[in-house]
Every structure is written in C-alpha cells, then in structure tokens.
C-alpha cells in the first residue's frame, strides 16, 4: 500500500541523513532536519485532534512552550543548585531526560485537562477563539515571571542527559528525536484505528449523531485533547534542548498558527502529512529568507492560495487523492 511505502521510505531517508551530511561535509543539515522533526512532532500531535477529531485548537503553542519551560526550569535549578520555590517538597531540579521529558508531557497534559474541560463545552468558532485566548493567557503569565527570564527568556547551560548518550552531539540528538517521532507515529497510527480513534472520527463527521447513538462524547474529546497536548509538550521539551534556550515566544499565538499551517500544508488527518508540512514550511521559510528579508510578504499569499486551492495537502498529493485515508 502506498502509505506503507511512503512511511518506510521516509524513515529510511531520515535514518541515513546524518552519515550523508557528514560525507558531504555539511553537518548543518542535521540541525535543520532536527528542527523540522521537532516541529513535525508538534504538528503531528495537533493533527490528532485537528485531523481526526475536528477540534481546531488555536492554542497548541501553549503546550509546546510549557514542555519547553519544564525542561528550562528543571535545568536552571539543577545548574544553579537552587530549590524550586513553588513545590511542596525540596527539589533542585534535574537534567535527566528521563525525568524532564515525561514531566514536560505530564505538565502539558494537566494544563490541557483544565483548558480542555473549559473549552470543549463550546464548539466551532468559540472553541477556536477560546483556545487562542487561553494560550495567550499562559503566554502573558510566562512573560510576567521574572525568575525565569520573563520576556528575554532563559538560557539552558546544558542539554538533557541520557545515560550512555551525549545529546550535545548533534547526530546523537538527531537520532533520539527521530526515534521519538517514529514512536509517536506508530502510537498514533494504532490509536486512529482503535475503538477510541473510531469515536473521534465519528465525532468529526457527525457529532450530534454520536450523541444520539449514546456516546458521551465529551470525555473522549477531552482525552484526545490531552493526548495531543502531551505530544506537543514533548516536542517543546526537545525544542528547548535544541535551542538551549526557552522564551515566551514559543507560546506566541503565531506559533500556534504556524503549527496549524504545517498540518494543513502537509495534509490533515493523514498521520505523516504534518511532518511533511513542517518540512515544507520550514524549508520555504529558509529559502525565501535567503531571497529577501521580507519573505513573509511572499509566504502570506502562498498560504492563502494553498488554503483556497490546495486543500488536501502535500501528503494526499503524493499518495493520490482517492487513497487518502
């Protein structure tokens, strides 16, 4: 089947990228690819609710930023050997990835639980605006925290640590990211085919019918929202590591917009589409930025035109439209 062919070829290409980059004596490719994978992961997580559950969250950058800040705060405290002030117990943080990254997902998930419980009481346009508003609220909250850099952001003096690996080495970090993206892909492909996935897809296609068929839709939508936030939170943790810097701009509403653009350009509801979308958007930004500093004035219309005319996204184009799901 075409899907399998594309996914296998994609991961194979990605797997051999570092050695090829070194052979071409241009290791910068690894850094670019890592960045694309990280945003791809964030976009894939968003697609789980956008493409399969018709929940248009315009505030996913909040989870991205929260995941990043968890890593930032824990690294900061560990580095300066200071006790974290707002916890009921004494803890000076940690730089272990096995502590930071799951915690990043957990924090993102918990906040999503609260935001989702409030926002999912609404539908359609309300939901879009409300998720945007809550993300904005968190953005201002982070700016207002002077202890962690506020608007200027926070430097991370070291990347997360995994026993046996050195994540400051770019190809090792790249492979860790690639493995995580691969895991998420496997997990989400199982989830969309499962009973839970069926419920989500049913809600996407006809939510009132789901209700009169007896499904208590709220709890499933909320669960999906939380899962989606956790994936994006993990991406944020990885982004913090790659940049070795966290700032509130990760949570800006424009970041939420970018994630949505990646999902659409790549193809929503196609599992891998958003990954392609991340590649596409970030490559486009790089290329256009090379031509002119005002590249956004070109990207804007491209975006409008692709929404108007190329709705299916890149992935569907590659796969052949009729075989899209």
């Amino acid at each position: 089947m075409r899907h399998r062919l594309i996914s296998i070829s994609l991961f194979l290409c990605l797997a051999v990228l570092p050695p090829i980059a070194y052979a071409l004596d241009d290791p910068f490719w690894i850094t670019i690819a890592t960045r694309m994978l990280i945003y791809g992961l964030a976009a894939m997580s968003l697609d789980f609710i956008l493409g399969y559950g018709a929940m248009v969250s315009f505030g996913h950058a909040a989870f991205f930023g929260l995941g990043a800040y968890v890593v930032g705060v824990l690294t900061h405290h560990q580095f300066y050997d200071e006790i974290i002030p707002f916890l009921p117990f004494d803890w000076t943080g940690s730089v272990s990835a096995l502590v930071q990254w799951p915690l990043a997902m957990l924090v993102a998930g918990l906040i999503a639980l609260v935001i989702g419980a409030l926002s999912l009481r609404t539908q359609g346009v309300y939901f879009i605006m409300i998720t945007l508003a809550f993300a904005q609220m968190l953005y201002f909250f982070m700016i207002g925290l002077p202890d962690y850099g506020g608007e200027d952001g926070l430097n991370l003096w070291t990347r997360s640590e995994i026993w046996g690996l050195d994540l400051s080495e770019s190809s090792q970090f790249y492979y860790v990211v690639l493995v995580l993206v691969g895991c998420w892909f496997l997990l989400s492909s199982r989830m969309v085919k499962s009973r839970f996935g069926r419920v989500l897809i049913g809600c996407q296609q006809n939510e009132p019918r789901m209700q009169t068929l007896g499904y208590p839709v709220m709890r499933y939508k909320l669960t999906a929202f939380v899962i989606s936030a956790m994936g994006t939170g993990l991406a944020g943790a990885l982004a913090a590591n790659q940049n070795e810097f966290v700032s509130p701009s990760l949570m800006a509403w424009t970041t939420s917009g970018e994630l949505m653009v990646m999902v659409i350009l790549g193809g929503m509801g196609t599992l891998l589409g958003p990954l392609f979308g991340a590649f596409l958007l970030l490559s486009l930004e790089e290329v256009l930025a090379g031509w002119t500093e005002h590249w956004m004035v070109i990207l804007g219309p491209i975006l409008v035109l692709s929404v108007l005319f190329a709705r299916g996204g890149l992935y569907r184009f590659l796969v052949g439209k009729r075989d899209a799901k």
Partner: protein, 304 residues
C-alpha cells in the same frame, strides 16, 4: 480621584474594544466568517490616520481618511479572498486570514519601516477637562468615549430602523431567504464587511494618539476582541458593548489596583510580580468564569 480616573480609562478601552468587537461580531453573525485579519484593518486605520494627520495637520481629516482607506481595504480583501471563504469551514478561514495578517504586517513594514510611529492628539483635545471639581481628565480620552457612544447609537439606529438592520435582526444567514426578499446578497455581504472594516479603522485611528503605532498592534487587540465576543456572545452588538466595557474596566482596574491590593498582604517585590501576572490574566479568568456559567456568551445573536 484615582479610582474615577482609572474607571474612565477602563471605559475608554472598553469603547475601543466595542468598536472592534461590533464589526467582528456582525461579520460573524451574518456571514459566519471568522476573520483574523480584522486586527490588520485596525493597524491600517492607525497608520493611515497617522500619516494623513501628520501630512495635513488635521486629525479630523486623518480619521476620515483612515476610515475610508480601511473600508476600501476591506472591500478589496472581501472581493479577492473572503468571498471564496464564506462557504468553507472555519479552519480554512482561520488559515487564510492568518496568511493575510502575515502579508499585511510585512507589507506595512516594507512601506513604513520597522520603527513605530507616534501621533499626538490634536491641539484642541490635548488639554484636560474637569469631570468633577478639581479632577482633571485627558480630553482626548473623553473624546474616544464620546465617539464610542456615538457609534453605538448609530449602530442601534442602523439595526432597528433600516433595511440592512432588518436583515441583521432577522439573522439573515440564508442566501435563499435574503435573495427571495429582493436583496442582492453579495452586495449585502460586501457592505457588512466594509462596515466592520470601517469600525476597525476608526478604532485604529482613535488609538493612534494613545499607543505606539507599529506592526503587531493589530494582533494584540484582536485577541482581546475575541475575548469580548466570547463573553458578549457571537453575533450580538449589544453583547459587544456590554462585554467590551466589562473587559476594558476589569483589565484597567486590575492593572491599576492589584499591586496595591496585594502589597497589603505580601512583600513588595512579590506583590508586584504576582500582580503583573494576575492582572494580565484577569480578563481570561473572567472569560473562563463566563464559559462555565454561560458557554454561549451573555447575549444571544440576532434571530435566535
């Protein structure tokens, strides 16, 4: 009295939000279109008003120019892009209008440069008025409040006494019904969009003397506008007014007085930091409370 001054500041902010929200909510109520580029129209209004005012030395001319230019931009956007989006789902509308924002912001930067523009209020408004004996208050801010009241009255007249208003009140969303009544639906949509744009342009023009005019100002106020619409109820102009005032006052008063209030129980440094964070979140907390109690907003849209 400090409280009265801050309260009036809140009302003034509320009026600006009302101008933005009224346009956006009408566009949504009639055309079911979520328009992120509304903030860009606000920005255009600010820039054009400032440019014309500085060039012609007349703020009135600037305001008029700003409104007209913004309405014209609105008509242009409507004919080129929005028309194709009315029947699309909201996600498409969000993304397409997001694209418009990126284009507008960058184009503005290209035309005006990245530095902010500054505009002073016109001479006859650069003074203070004694709203109470011994209580001076900036005349310009009073002017903005008055302008908001005038627009509110105008909109009320429009909605209750004109044919367009009749269509709005009937919740005229059905093309067939509207066309059967003898109205040209494309024209109606364009007019409503132009009206919304003009209101946004007016808000932007009025904001000029109060804020730095720069790229990105549109998005700041856009999100506040969304909060206003959520609280007020999509499609309701009355809701836009009430919620606008509510949000304006809550935001202003919490920023002004929360530090003082917190300083009574907390040490100064933490009080300031906490107050800063909480006051910037205040309106979102208000929104969350409204969502719990009444998810559809305070007022229903026309026709429902």
């Amino acid at each position: 009295m400090l409280f009265l001054e801050q309260l009036l500041n809140g009302v003034q902010l509320g009026m600006m939000l009302f101008l933005m929200a009224a346009g956006l909510t009408l566009i949504f109520g009639i055309m079911h279109l979520i328009n992120l580029a509304h903030g860009s129209l606000y920005m255009v209004g600010a820039y054009v008003t400032a440019t014309v005012s500085l060039a012609s030395d007349s703020f009135a001319l600037g305001l008029v120019g700003g409104c007209l230019a913004t309405a014209a931009c609105g008509v242009l956007i409507e004919m080129l892009a929005m028309r194709h989006l009315y029947h699309r789902d909201h996600l498409d509308q969000v993304l397409a209008t997001f694209g418009i924002i990126l284009t507008a912001n960058e184009a503005t930067k290209m035309i005006f440069g990245p530095q902010a523009l500054f505009l002073n209020p016109p001479a006859w408004l650069s003074t203070t008025v004694n709203i109470l004996p011994e209580t001076p208050y900036p005349a310009y801010r009073l002017f903005v409040i008055v302008a908001g009241i005038v627009v509110a009255l105008f909109l009320r007249h429009l909605i209750t006494h004109t044919r367009i208003g009749m269509l709005i009140r009937a919740g005229a969303t059905h093309r067939e019904m509207v066309t059967a009544l003898g109205f040209n639906i494309s024209l109606l949509f364009t007019l409503v969009f132009a009206l919304g744009a003009a209101l946004a342009g007016l808000a932007g023009g009025l904001a000029g003397p109060l804020l730095a005019i720069e790229v990105g100002m549109g998005e700041q106020i856009l999100i506040l506008t969304f909060v206003v619409i959520i609280i007020g109820g999509i499609g309701s102009v009355k809701g836009a007014l009430v919620a606008g005032l509510l949000v304006g006052v809550v935001d202003t008063l919490s920023r002004a007085f929360l530090p003082t209030v917190l300083k009574t129980t907390l040490p100064a440094a933490s009080a300031d930091a906490l107050a800063g964070s909480v006051s910037s979140m205040a309106i979102y907390i208000l929104m969350a409370v409204v969502l719990v109690v009444r998810p559809q907003g305070l007022y229903n849209a026309y026709g429902t």
